[in-house]
Amino acid sequence: MANNKKTVLSTMKVDGIHVGFPSPAQDYMNPCIDLNMELVIHPSATFYGRVVGNSMLDAGVEEGDILVIDKAIEPKEGDMAVCFVDGEFTLKFISFRSPEDVKPVKSKGKVLSSYNILEHKNLWLLPANKAYKPIEITESNDFTVWGVVTYVIKKIVKK
């Protein structure tokens, strides 16, 4: 990766500078933006996944989107995470509170979600699509939080 970047840089700098006026931009050259640098916080712990289905549609994630998944991050309340439940990877919000305790709170006409802080032992996986039900995780489930989603890459241009 590093080598790759170097080659791009050197060809950019060398060309067209030795004749005529020196480019006024020469002293301001920066390496081009590297998405790996911006989107990958922990390279050793970052993997990617592809979204199947639309259970997180209302959160802006739809079928075919690419997930940047960081396994180094400790999952916390409200994180979007890739979880492994009973033989399948699933994308959901993590909640340590039951959805019944989630009450809509209105603020200046906008509906915001809010939680009643109640003790709840179990973990909930909350979809962002009314067609899907929240999943309560209990000891009977084969369950792990596989990784926390840090970015979603969406293809916009249709070929």
């Binding site: 050793s44 993997f47 990617y48 199947v52």
Partner: protein, 420 residues
């Protein structure tokens, strides 16, 4: 002190990292071409499946749903190994990667009480970040660190880290370790030692040095010293490899010289690419071809020959042309070949290349090197897009059986895990 980090059942663990449903189930990974078992989960070890068991012998278990089988997926394992090594190297400035799943960390100037918490946090970090369980053994010598890592792996109570840091622990560990499990004691040597009454590592160190030297020479003495806390296995210098071998078994036996030429060209191209990636070149290019030893009904022939180059080379064209020259001299029609390989030897650093005074076409060399550089860039994806006319189109692994291979989850855009 040394800390040896060793991944538990590495290939199986890599499979499980992306297929958590395999957790707790008997799993085996097969060798290239789905030949035999090269990695086992603890559960499949418990089923009595041994390393090297041919696939057909466990097929019944697989068909009955009692055993999960995977073809080896070296692209995936290599990527996972790189991630693990990079985490390990952050903990120790001096590290020697010993194999795809093992590395020695040189912990100079630290005692075991300082090393143990670091080791524990590495075990935790690698498990969480990469998804692979690792065991770490800590001791004064590399050989003892290996022994310690076996204990760390075998007994869950250690939580992945075992230190041999007292005389009492050392003697106890040696008494509990079979001599054949000691690093540096070969599978041929162990039964011979057992005949002499040396069954455990403790029996071994209780023998006088002369006894060991007479039977096993200097390498035996080194192991003997290492087990007694005297460092005798040198830290690896930054030296490059002495030889590179690329060989494969064929899915189907080959008797056609043209087909064999294609395969050998591929192997030579891989060797050349490895040389270049390590900034080295080789003086000697050798080729071997083998018939199928397991087919008593067929005539057998397995020649090997090598030639020396005037100037060490690393360009694809030069290595292939040398390899094909060798192949031409050893190929005989009428045999069915099962395996072939190219070995490049007498490897030197690019900087140390001495051009011969005569007959050296510096321009041609420069041209070949440039072509190779372009090929390396274009072929980065692993597919042989740019190749010499004697090579085969497609990936060099084409034609190798891998019926049960999982996805290239971490390196291939089209193979990502699916999240519902």
């Amino acid at each position: 002190m040394y800390a040896l980090a060793d991944c538990n059942n590495f290939f199986v663990s890599c499979e499980r990292a992306f297929q958590p449903q395999l957790e707790g189930r008997p799993v085996v990974v097969l060798s290239n071409n789905d030949g035999c078992v090269v990695a086992r989960s603890n559960e499949s070890k418990a089923l009595g499946i041994k390393m090297g068991t041919p696939y057909f012998k466990v097929k019944d278990l697989v068909d009955a749903g009692k055993l999960v089988v995977r073809s080896s997926n070296y692209t995936l394992y290599g990527d996972m190994s790189g991630r693990i090594m990079s985490i390990l190297s952050s903990a120790s400035p001096k590290m020697e990667v010993y194999s795809i799943d093992e590395a020695f960390m040189v912990m100079d100037g630290m005692n075991s009480e300082q090393i143990k918490p670091i080791a524990h946090s590495l075990v935790h970090q690698i498990r969480k970040w990469v998804g692979v369980p690792v065991s770490i053994g800590v001791a004064d010598t590399k050989t003892l660190a290996k022994v310690a890592s076996h204990f760390a792996k075998k007994y869950p109570g250690y939580k992945g880290v075992c230190a041999i840091d007292s005389e009492e622990k050392r003697l106890k560990a040696l008494s509990m370790t079979e001599i054949g499990d000691i690093w540096g004691i070969g599978w041929r040597t162990a039964p011979k030692l057992a005949e002499q009454g040396v069954k455990t590592a403790l029996d071994f160190v209780n023998k006088p040095q002369e006894w060991v030297e007479r039977r096993m020479g200097i390498t035996g003495v080194r192991t003997w010293l290492e087990l007694q806390r005297h460092n005798s296995v040198e830290d690896e210098q930054e030296s490059k490899r002495k030889s590179i071998c690329t060989s494969r078994s064929f899915a189907q036996m080959i008797d056609d010289e043209k087909e064999l030429t294609l395969r050998v060209s591929d192997f030579a191209a891989i060797c050349a690419k490895k040389l270049r990636s390590e900034k080295t070149a080789a003086y000697t290019v050798g080729v071997f071809i083998q018939t199928n030893h397991f087919r008593d009904d067929l005539s057998q022939y397995d020649p090997w020959y090598s030639i020396n180059l005037d100037v060490p080379a690393s360009s694809t064209r030069e290595i292939i042309s040398a390899a094909l020259q060798v192949l031409k001299s050893i190929y005989r029609p009428g045999y069915k070949y099962k395996r072939a390989g190219v070995i490049v030897m007498d490897i030197v650093d690019n900087d140390d290349i001495q051009p011969t005074l005569f007959d050296f076409d510096a321009k041609a060399r420069e041209r070949d090197d440039k072509i190779s550089q372009v090929m390396d860039k274009v072929n980065k994806s692993g597919n042989n897009i740019l190749r010499l006319a004697t090579q085969r189109p497609g990936h060099y692994a084409d034609g190798i059986k891998c019926d049960f291979r999982s996805g290239l989850f971490s390196t291939q855009w089209n193979d990502l895990i699916e999240v519902h």
